[in-house]
Amino acid sequence: MSASSHEARALSCPRCGGRLSGVTASALVACAACGSPLAVHVPGEAVREAIHPAKSAAEAVAAAGAFWNRDGLPARFAQLAPEAPVLLFAAVGEVHRTSVASVTSRGAAPVAHETRDVALAAPIPGVPLEKADLPSALEAGARVPFDPAALQRSGLVFDPVKGPALLFPASRNGTSLEERLAVVYVPFWLVRKRFRRGLYEALVDAGTGRLLHARAPVARTRRLLESALLIHLLAAALALPLGGWGRIAGALVRLDEIGVILLFLVPAGLVALAAWSWNRLRFRYEIEGDASSVTFRAINKPVKTLLEKAVDRTMKVTMWILNKIV
């Protein structure tokens, strides 16, 4: 029976005989007349199910808050209330296959084996769903029949953008005897905070309440002591009279070979220090990560700043000179 065949639309409830209108594919449905739960299986077509969120919006906000209420963020950011959390339902494809290997040892009887594959069928741009443990989410969540309107009333429903052929290509190593396709709508909470001109989001697994990914701005004052130290180093280097630099050079030369190497490394080191300082003073930073790890990220920073390019060149020249003389 295919999705387009008319038998699929003439299904009736085996208990009361009521007509199951609109059922065009595999589905778990309730009879509109008597309410009996029914499983309609159309071979080769997907069963559609959904998992309701086990965690509430308040619990999602609390999980996001644990990330957002930390030292080093602007004080007002932590105080800001997030926008109303958005519930997302992402389509996840699941296939159970029973297949036999095409190549077996001579004389051995073919053995059937079962496999299960899970793949995200609806990547949502800007939402890192790949961080979710989808197989566990499908196993842990209680599945209910897919009711599009009910699901859409509670959140945003992202239908698959990849069909079964793309998601689960046929196995090359065997013959598939039976295949059961399912599309399961898995819930996630997206909590967002608007701060200055930015929008910062936290993605929370609505089944476990685990924070999957979050971003937050970093307070500029967090790096103030670092900045002050660098500024004092730079001021001291510039204020040192030429005679002072001469005495430092003389002391290094007296250290013999190591001293000469250090002497040549001083200019490259100063440029590297300037590049490092510039990166910390010039750019705004954000943090991103999850409940267990956080990384810093400079905003609007080119892949290589001019000073970083200068460091590369100075180091190249220094290494060339050292190779020649040492």
Binding site: S2, H6, P148, P160, V183, H232, A235, A239
Partner: protein, 249 residues
């Protein structure tokens, strides 16, 4: 039951979709997307005609980026025209608008339908542009109880502009009727005023440190100590207070 109907493919996932019984929707056999076919009695299906040409996009994008203080030149800029669906309920001169397909675009939820030339939706009118299928069921709308006569499904044209800003891929929708911009991805903005204030305060700190070290290296120990141990920390504290206040303003 409907009469013989050729299966059509789902624009979401490509699987076969079959028309629902006595309904203006088709249901995809794989993903279950309900696709509005646009021929339900009483519900009109329209599209707005694009008025913003692709040639205008670079200037509009630059103005919008400048307004958001996003530094740097956008690279690898490309654009495509697409039609995004909205459910519209018009009654007594007031229009309610709801998304007819899911989207997380910041600003799309509060999108006001632009006034433009409307015509009946047809595949021919959209040309080569991508048409986002309407998948939000009428029953799920905030105005689900509206009679069909008050409802319209309107496909609005947007130019989706994709580009790289430094190391980030960014997409912005520019409404092709009125030109309003809607970011799909967070834009890496800078805060120019805050940058300038912070740089000025750190320069003052540098000047004090330089004066202090200069005095110290020339034997004026007392003057150097005043700059380094009194003026420096005071400027540092002032910088911290001012920067924190500006950041939280």
């Amino acid at each position: 039951m409907t009469t013989a109907e050729e299966p059509r493919s789902c624009p979401q996932c490509g699987a076969a979709a079959a028309r629902d019984e006595a309904d203006a929707f088709a249901t995809c056999g794989f993903c279950g997307a309900r696709l509005f076919l646009g021929d339900e009695p009483g519900v009109s299906h329209e599209l707005l005609l694009p008025a913003v040409s692709p040639e205008e996009l670079p200037a509009r994008l630059r103005a919008w980026l400048d307004d958001r203080e996003a530094l740097g030149a956008p690279r690898n800029v490309s654009s495509k025209l697409l039609f995004f669906p909205f459910w519209v309920r018009a009654r007594a001169g007031v229009s309610d608008v709801a998304l007819a397909a899911p989207s997380l675009a910041d600003g799309l939820r509060d999108f006001r339908l632009p006034a433009g030339d409307a015509k009946t939706f047809s595949a021919r009118a959209t040309g080569q542009a991508e048409v986002v299928a309407a998948t939000v069921a009428r029953e799920a709308l905030p105005f689900a109880d509206a009679p069909p006569g008050e409802l319209r499904l309107v496909h609005v044209p947007f130019h989706e502009v994709s580009f790289n800003l430094f190391d980030r891929a960014v997409r912005v929708w520019i409404d092709a009727v009125a030109g309003q911009a809607i970011p799909l991805d967070p834009i890496p903005t800078s805060e120019a005023n805050l940058d300038r204030a912070y740089a000025f305060l750190l320069f003052v700190l540098f000047a004090a440190a330089f004066a202090g070290f200069h005095a110290l290296f020339r034997g004026a120990t007392a003057r150097g100590a005043v700059f380094l141990l009194v003026a420096g920390p005071l400027i540092l504290l002032a910088t911290r207070g001012i920067a924190a206040r500006m950041e939280d303003a």
